[in-house]
């Protein structure tokens, strides 16, 4: 009972902003709701279990999802896992079970990370206001995820599906900057008005 109560009361940092969601004609920036997230560190050795449709030994900088849970491989021994808020304990159990016997650490970072979703035709252009990576279809296709920079903040950029929908994950105290940067970038990317 207690658990349900405190989870319902999560005060997300971007929820109190006067203008939580910005949108232009071809792009929208929307803070994500409360989610559970885990930082997974593991040594795969020989075996490579599969989580949420992603074999853990999938190439670095790829992301898999089963529609609810996503898992992004960010380094040789590092993954970021996200899922619905309510399923945190379940998810944690699932991961431990899948990794039974493998040296690993699973740390709850649900409150460390803040998610922002950016969607629309101009989404990549909005990121390129502050992210120097090539985000074209060939260089950053659906199924890509990477740790990178947005302006002066470190982010994880995730593109799980084919739609022009990107998830930014940043640390909580950087979220107002990242959100502000993306909002500003919407204006910068929309281009000129008619003469």
């Amino acid at each position: 009972m207690l658990e349900t109560r405190y989870r319902a009361a999560r005060a997300l940092p971007l929820a109190t902003l006067p203008r939580p969601a910005a949108s232009g004609a071809s792009v929208s920036v929307r803070p994500a709701g409360a989610e559970s997230r885990f930082s997974l560190r593991a040594r795969l050795g020989g075996g490579a279990p599969t989580l949420a449709g992603l074999p853990l030994d999938a190439p670095i900088n790829t992301v898999g999802t089963d529609g609810e849970v996503w898992i992004a491989r960010l380094g040789p021994d590092e993954w970021l896992v996200g899922g619905p808020e309510a399923d945190a304990d379940l998810l944690q159990g699932r991961i431990h079970e899948a990794l039974a016997g493998l040296p690993h650490a699973l740390v709850d970072v649900s409150h460390r990370n803040v998610g922002i979703d950016v969607s629309g035709r101009q989404a990549a252009a909005v990121f390129n206001a502050g992210c120097p990576l090539d985000l074209s279809e060939t260089a950053f296709p659906p199924g890509s995820a990477t740790r990178t920079l947005l302006g002066k903040a470190e982010i994880v950029l995730i593109r799980a599906a084919a739609a022009p929908l990107y998830r930014v994950e940043c640390w909580r105290s950087f979220s107002t900057y990242v959100h502000g940067f993306l909002n500003e970038a919407v204006f910068g990317a929309e281009g000129a008005v008619a003469p």
Binding site: L2, A9, V109, H111, A189, V193
Partner: protein
């Protein structure tokens, strides 16, 4: 509406869309498609500015980015004024207010023009020669005078209201310049399907094709080829076509910076769109097709308004439908000016052409122009010009093969088009660190050896013929895209070829002649010759001594002439003199474009905790700690820092205080070898620390000096909850990962930053337990069950917590770790529960005072990267039998074990009210001669309300042995005496902490 010099037809202007803007307060009418320069000329306005040094009347020299003279202040509305805009590239639109610069009281009558009469004084190196003596005049007289006179235009005085955007982009082929070569290159590259970006600084892509009304490509007007090419590029999804975009910097790895002017040309309010966008392009391959710049001719008074570059006359005629004059004289040493003269004839203007070349050296252009009805004087030089604010005539004379001038002749005119040949725009190539080669045939430096993946095409590499430009551009674009496709168009032959000339032959006394080489910095041929006579031989030295080529135009029109004169004076071949280095930016770039969105809240991330808004609402003032903003103190009405901190300090020791410690760095260390990993990183032992217990940990760098500190809790056998300093969080995690990955990969340990997962509410003071007791579930808070330096997991207000019983104040205290999104609610609940106990929020200042009263160090304040554990009295933490740890070996270094090292001590002033300055130096004897021997410095100093006196911590040579002795500390007025003591001022036995 009268535009007396507007031709009745022709040009790419839109005559259905009239515009009007202001020049020096008077309306100027033009059409959409005009530049400010073309509209001014359409209205017969040539005098548009005063020169930098001599305040000479100046007009419009060029039609493009190389314009050195026509620099205007442009006002686009409130807060949107900037100086030094080249009239030739500012698109005219209604609502602009333009003003000329560098004159007083007016453009027509300028007092500063007296400088022109004094010109014999202002020779090259004038500053260095004149302002040498007397030495003491420099600061008070000369420098203020020079500063007042220097600079061009007025800087804006209010903040820039515009928005500037930034865009990173990647492509396979970046083409710079959308003239015939660049367009063909983009076309060829685009057809391979590769990603292409084509950038051109003009409002309209096309380059020279925009003013070429006579050439044909494959039997059809060149304009048709342009339209078709643009249509094809436009239709291709793999092409980004960027007009109004200047590639200004070429950096490593084909990183090219460009500014796109997005809204300046729009009449309607720009709305939310950015004024400019900075493009940072990373290109696989770059094609440079930036064209060439025309050279002026160097003759006496070649700077009068009305004297333009010949090709610019042609541009104004053909592209803008403007006649820069009715009686035109062209002066040239090459063929290209003939085309301008032919076009002027076709427009019905009176044309004379003076060619320095002998009749026999001219090509078919000569007959062509004569048959068009123009007088052509071959073998003639230009001696000088007549007129003041507008050219009225050109003095010419035949020149013999011996260089002697024959009888002078005055050619009356109201406009001169001059051409001294062409200089390929190799700026970007040079910036890319490519090596240039001097091509004797065209008297120019051209790209030779590439340093990066780029190639040049067209006039930028000295190819001037239209068909050759198109074909060369196509090949270059194809090659850049990895294809060997070729295209062979045929086109009307371009009139090319010229005989280079440095200074036009003259019969005048050369010491009296003012022939300008650098128009923007007012450098004459005479100045350059003087510099050479005075011993400057390197072009780099001549440039700095005379300032030639150092203006914002970077010598686009002047460099080759200056170089030629220096080579001539030294009697060296031109390449032996070399060329100066081209540096970014190619043309001036606004600060806004470089700053981009990094202003105000987006200048830097400002990190705040979940408690931040609560602290704001409760009147906290904040201080910056790294990127964090932390509550500094919570003043009540009428309180200053001193009063608020004194109150907060008392409240903690007498009741209970609440403090936001969320910014502390936190690292979760998990794995079978976690304890071993900790043993190797910290000076402390960890193996025997029981789960549920805490220990203060101290971490060194390899050099044995303190890196960071913090309390560590053992959560379980294989899990530690590490805390670090606020500023050290990232550094410590990197340090740990570095050792784990490179030194001890065999250890089975994983590190995860949890700094922001856990918010930390510190509750400190004798009543702390009473406050949280009703809120905590699942943890026995009694001192026996939960002693100092213990950690328990449970819940507080229903929220899971890692509850630490720790203290950075010396009081009974708890640090409540809760997941960040619940921290505000828990904080408010604790605060509400604490009201009955007089709970007081306190900030970092009080935290600092309280810990200093107890002598707890702060890394970075008591330590400075040269302090060992023993220096701060913590050597005892290192177990004798402990194995290796980072920094251990260095602790045995002779200088580290030597006596006389600086040690942490307390200082008490004789005057208990005197608070020492932090950083103040300490000496033993104030009677010693200066420089005195300094023994150390004050590291922390505060007023302690709890002690009723000032307290200070210091690092002092052999400090511990000096306990009880006296030392002297510097004050703003001199010295004050202090007594050395143990670095503990309050509760010296440490009993309160275990309450």
């Amino acid at each position: 509406m009268a535009q007396p010099f507007r031709l009745s037809r022709g040009g790419r202007i839109d005559r259905t869309r009239p515009i009007v803007f202001a020049f020096n307060g008077k309306p100027v009418h033009g059409f959409a498609g005009d530049t400010v320069a073309s509209a001014l000329l359409a209205n017969g306005i040539h005098l548009v500015g005063r020169s930098f040094k001599y305040h000479r009347p100046r007009g419009i020299l060029s039609h493009g980015p190389d314009e050195p003279s026509a620099l205007l202040s442009v006002d686009r509305g409130p807060g949107r004024i900037d100086p030094n805009n080249r009239a030739s590239v500012v698109e005219a639109r209604s609502g602009l207010r333009t003003t000329s610069q560098n004159h007083w009281p007016s453009l027509e009558f300028d007092v500063g023009a007296v400088n022109d009469l004094l010109s014999p004084v202002f020779v090259a190196g004038f500053y260095y020669k004149t302002f040498m003596w007397p030495r003491k005049f420099w600061d008070k007289v000369y420098e203020p005078f020079i500063r007042a006179a220097a600079g061009l235009g007025k800087a804006p005085t209010v903040a820039d209201p515009d928005r500037y955007a930034n865009r990173h982009a990647h492509c396979d082929v970046l083409v710079v310049g959308a003239g015939p070569a660049g367009l063909a290159a983009a076309l060829a590259a685009a057809r391979t399907g590769k990603r292409v970006i084509l950038a051109d600084e003009g409002a309209e892509p096309g380059g020279s094709l925009l003013h070429d009304t006579t050439s044909q490509i494959d039997g059809r007007p060149a304009a048709d080829w342009l339209a078709e090419t643009l249509a094809e590029l436009d239709a291709r999804e793999n092409v980004i076509l960027l007009p109004r975009t200047t590639a200004f910097g070429y950096y490593n790895h084909n990183h090219v910076a460009m500014t796109e002017r997005v809204t300046d040309h729009l009449t309607s309010a720009a709305g939310q769109a950015p004024r400019e966008r900075l493009w940072q392009v990373r290109a696989e391959q770059v094609v440079l097709a930036g064209g060439a710049h025309e050279r002026p001719l160097v003759f006496a008074d070649n700077d009068r308004p009305g004297i333009l570059l010949a090709e610019s006359v042609r541009v104004f005629l053909n592209r803008y439908g403007v006649a820069p004059g009715r009686r035109l004289v062209f002066a040239t040493c090459g063929a290209s000016a003939y085309q301008a003269a032919l076009d002027a004839r076709a427009a019905g203007l009176d044309v004379t052409l003076v060619d320095l070349r002998l009749e026999a050296d001219c090509g078919p252009e000569l007959a062509q122009l004569r048959s068009a009805g123009a007088e052509v004087l071959t073998g003639h030089t230009v001696i000088g010009s007549k007129g003041r604010k507008r050219v009225t005539g050109l003095v010419v004379a035949p020149v013999g093969s011996d260089g002697r001038c024959g009888g002078r002749r005055l050619l009356a005119c109201d406009c001169v088009g001059m051409s001294g040949g062409w200089t390929p725009a190799v700026h970007l190539f040079s910036q890319s660190r490519g090596k240039l080669r001097y091509d004797d045939a065209i008297d120019a430096f051209v790209p030779n050896i590439s340093a990066q993946a780029e190639r040049s095409a067209g006039a930028a590499r000295g190819t001037y013929d239209l068909a050759a430009c198109v074909n060369e551009g196509f090949s270059a674009g194809a090659a850049a895209a990895g294809s060997d496709e070729r295209q062979e168009v045929r086109a009307t032959p371009t009139l090319t070829g010229f005989q280079p000339v440095r200074i036009m032959p003259t019969d005048a006394n050369p010491t009296k002649v003012r022939a300008f080489v650098d128009y923007q910095n007012d450098v004459t041929a005479k100045d350059i010759k003087l510099a050479v006579r005075e011993g400057f031989q390197s072009i780099e030295h001549v440039k700095r001594y005379t300032t030639t080529g150092m203006a914002t135009d970077q010598g686009k029109t002047s460099n080759m002439n200056a170089l030629g004169i220096v080579a001539g004076q030294l009697d060296k071949a031109l390449p032996a003199v070399g060329t100066t280095t081209f540096r970014p930016p190619y043309t001036p770039v606004t600060f806004g474009a470089l700053v981009g969105p990094a202003r105000h809240a987006l200048f830097d991330p400002i990190r705040t905790t979940p408690i931040h808004e609560w602290a704001e609402a409760h009147g906290a003032l904040f201080e910056n700690v790294a990127l964090w903003r932390r509550a500094w103190y919570f003043p009540k009405a009428g309180e200053d820092l001193h009063a608020a901190v004194a109150r907060e300090c008392k409240a903690v020791r007498e009741g209970v205080g609440i403090f936001d410690a969320s910014t502390l760095g936190k690292i979760e260390i998990v794995g079978r070898d976690a304890a071993e990993f900790m043993n190797r990183l910290y000076i402390n032992p960890w193996t025997k620390l029981a789960p549920g217990r805490c220990r203060y940990g101290l971490m060194l760098k390899e050099d044995g000096y303190i890196l960071d500190d913090g309390v560590v809790a053992r959560v379980s056998d294989e899990c530690f909850h590490v805390t670090t300093t606020t500023g050290g969080a990232a550094r410590v995690l990197a340090h740990m990962e570095d050792y784990l990955q490179t030194e001890w990969p065999e250890l089975e340990v994983f590190l995860t930053s949890t700094t922001e997962q856990w918010a930390v509410i510190a509750l400190q003071g004798p009543k702390a337990r009473d406050v949280i007791a009703p809120l905590v579930d699942g943890i026995d808070l009694s001192p026996e069950a939960f002693p100092h330096m213990a950690m328990r997991s449970g819940t507080i207000c229903g929220v899971p917590t890692r509850l630490f019983r720790v203290s950075f104040t010396g009081e009974l205290g708890f640090e409540i770790n809760v997941p960040s999104d619940h921290a505000r609610a828990v904080w408010e609940a604790v605060f509400a529960a604490g009201r009955a106990h007089g709970i007081t929020p306190y900030g970092t200042e009080t935290m600092h005072v309280l810990r200093a009263e107890k002598g707890y160090i702060i890394v970075g304040q008591e330590t400075d990267g040269t302090v060992t554990p023993d220096d701060v009295g913590m050597a005892g933490m290192i177990p004798k039998a402990k194995g290796d740890f980072v920094g251990k070996r260095s602790l045995a270094r002779p200088d580290v074990v030597a006596s006389g090292r600086k040690q942490l001590v307390g200082l008490m002033t004789d005057d208990p009210k005197l608070v020492l300055d932090e950083g103040a130096q300490i000496v033993a004897d104030t009677g010693q001669p200066i420089p005195m021997r300094m023994l150390g410095h004050v590291t922390s100093s505060y007023w302690s309300a709890n002690c009723g006196r000032s307290i200070a911590l210091a690092l002092v040579e052999g400090g511990r042995e000096r306990a009880g002795g006296h030392l002297h500390v510097t004050t703003p007025d001199g010295f004050t005496r202090v007594t050395v003591c143990e670095p503990v001022f309050f509760d010296t036995k440490g009993e309160r902490i275990n309450a």
